[in-house]
Amino acid sequence: MMPKKGPIISNLRKDQILKSISEGKHIDGRELSKQRSLEIVPGIIEKAEGSASVKLGDTHVIAGIKVEVGTPFPDTPSEGILIVNAEIFPTASEYQEPGPPDEDSIELARVVDRGIRESKMVDFSKLVIEPAKQVYVIYVDIGVLGMGGNLFDASSYAAVAALMTSSFNVYRIDGDIPVKTDEKMAMPITDFAVSLTFAKIGGSIVIDPTWEEEGIMDARLTAVYDNDGRICAMQKGGSGGLKIDDVFQMVDLGKAKYLDIRKKIVEMVENAKSGN
C-alpha cells in the first residue's frame, strides 16, 4: 500500500461527519462535548519502574518509566532530568511506517513532556543524588498500539498514571560512583496535569476527536489543566486558524471537564496502589 501520512477520508464520509457534527453529535454518536470511554490500567509492565495502559475509545497507548543516574544539565544542577519519547508502532495503523520517530511522534512526546514539566507534577529537586554531579534521569517511553485519534490525551494520561504509580531503587554515591541500593523511593509527585484536546470541524468545537474527525478538522488545540484548573501548557495543530472565541470556547469546555478526568485518574491509580 502506498505510504500515507494520515487517513484520506472519502468526500462522502467527510459530508457524513460534517452533517453529524452540525446535528450536535460526533460520528460515533457521542455528544460533541463528551469524551470517549476511558480505561486506565497502571502497572502493566513488571520490569519497568512504572507503567500504564490507556484506552481512549479505539486509541490504545502504553507508557513505561525507567530511572537511571546521569549528570544534570549545567543550568539546572540541582534538578533531576525528564526525557519523554514517543513512538507510534507500525501495528497502530495501516498508515504508519516502520522507522525512526516521525514529526508526529516528536510532537506527541513534546506535548506530553510540556504537560508534565509545566504542571510541576514531579518535584525534580528531590531527584538529586549529588548536586551538579549525579541526578536521577526519568525516562518516559510512550508506545502507541492503536491509533483511534487524540493521541495527545491518551498519551498524557498514560504518562501521568505511570509516573504516579512508579517507584525506583535509590542510589548512593560510593567515591564518585553511584551504587544501586535495595531501598525504594516513590516518584516525588506534587501535582498532576490533565490534558484535553479539542478540534474545530466545520465551525463547531468538539472534544476528543476520533481519527477520522482529525482527518477533516480545520484546527486542533490541546490544553493541559493543573490541579486548580489553570492552563499550564497548550499546543495548536492543524493547518486552519482558530478565532479567539474558539479558543475561549475550547478552554471553557475543558475547565468544565478536567475534574472528571482527574477524578478518574486518581481513582484508577488508588485502586492500583491498593491492589484492587
Partner: protein, 206 residues
C-alpha cells in the same frame, strides 16, 4: 487441521498427506467433497472479477490510485474515465475525479509487486448519504447469499445500497433509513461467525 481424508480444496486450505490445514483463522466448511475456510477478519484480498468500491487517493496525469480497503492499492488508467485514449498533455484527469471520490470497479489484473489493475463499472460513480465498512469476509458471504439478503436489507430499510465485496457499503436514503442500516451494520459486525449471520439478519429484518 480442518479435515482429514479425500477432499478437493476450495479456498484458504493447504494439504499435507491426507490432512487439510487452514491458513487463516476462520470458519471451516467441509461439504460436498470440498473443504474451505472463510476468513473472519483481515483486509480484502483481491481476486480477478471482484466488484469493489474504492476511493480515489491520488490523481496523476495517466492514472488514479484507488484505496480498495486492502493491503494493496488499485489503479485505474486515465483512458478508462474517458472511454478512449487520451493525450495527458491535453487532458487533466482531475477534471473527472478528485481525491476522496468513490467509485465502483472490477479487479481485472493482479501482478506480484504492483498495484491491482481495476476497470470501471458502467455506472462507476458512487454517491450516497453514508458509508459503512464491514469485514470483507462477511461482505463476500452476504453478497453470495442464496436468499438475496442484500435485497431484503434494501426493502427493509428503504435505502439504496451499493456494496463492494471489499466490505464497503454506500447507502442513500432518509435519516431513518440510514439509522436502520447503521443498526444492521452493527449486527453484522457483532456476529463473530459467518454461520448464523444470515439467520440473525433475517431476525432483525422481520
Amino acid at each position: 487441521m480442518v479435515a482429514r481424508g479425500n477432499y478437493r480444496i476450495y479456498s484458504n486450505v493447504i494439504k499435507n498427506d491426507d490432512k487439510f490445514y487452514s491458513i487463516f483463522v476462520g470458519s471451516a466448511e467441509v461439504t460436498g467433497g470440498r473443504v474451505r475456510v472463510t476468513r473472519l477478519s483481515g483486509p480484502y484480498i483481491p481476486k480477478i472479477g471482484d466488484q469493489v468500491i474504492g476511493m480515489i487517493t491520488d490523481v496523476q496525469p495517466l492514472a488514479a490510485t484507488v484505496d480498495i480497503n486492502s493491503y494493496i492499492n488499485g489503479f485505474i488508467m486515465a483512458n478508462a474515465f474517458y472511454k478512449k485514449r487520451i493525450d495527458p498533455s491535453k487532458r487533466d484527469l482531475s477534471e473527472k475525479v478528485r481525491v476522496g471520490d468513490l467509485l465502483s470497479a472490477r479487479v481485472n489484473r493482479i501482478e506480484r509487486g504492483r498495484d491491482v489493475s481495476l476497470s470501471l463499472d458502467q455506472r462507476w460513480r458512487v454517491d450516497g448519504d453514508a458509508i459503512f465498512y464491514v469485514s470483507p469476509a462477511k461482505a463476500a458471504y452476504l453478497l453470495k447469499s442464496k436468499s438475496n439478503i442484500i435485497s431484503k436489507i434494501k426493502a427493509f430499510t428503504g435505502a439504496g445500497i451499493v456494496m463492494g465485496i471489499n466490505g464497503v457499503i454506500v447507502a442513500k436514503g432518509e435519516k431513518d433509513s440510514i439509522g436502520r442500516i447503521t443498526e444492521i451494520v452493527r449486527v453484522i459486525e457483532s456476529q463473530v461467525e459467518l454461520n448464523g449471520l444470515e439467520d440473525m439478519l433475517k431476525g432483525v429484518l422481520r
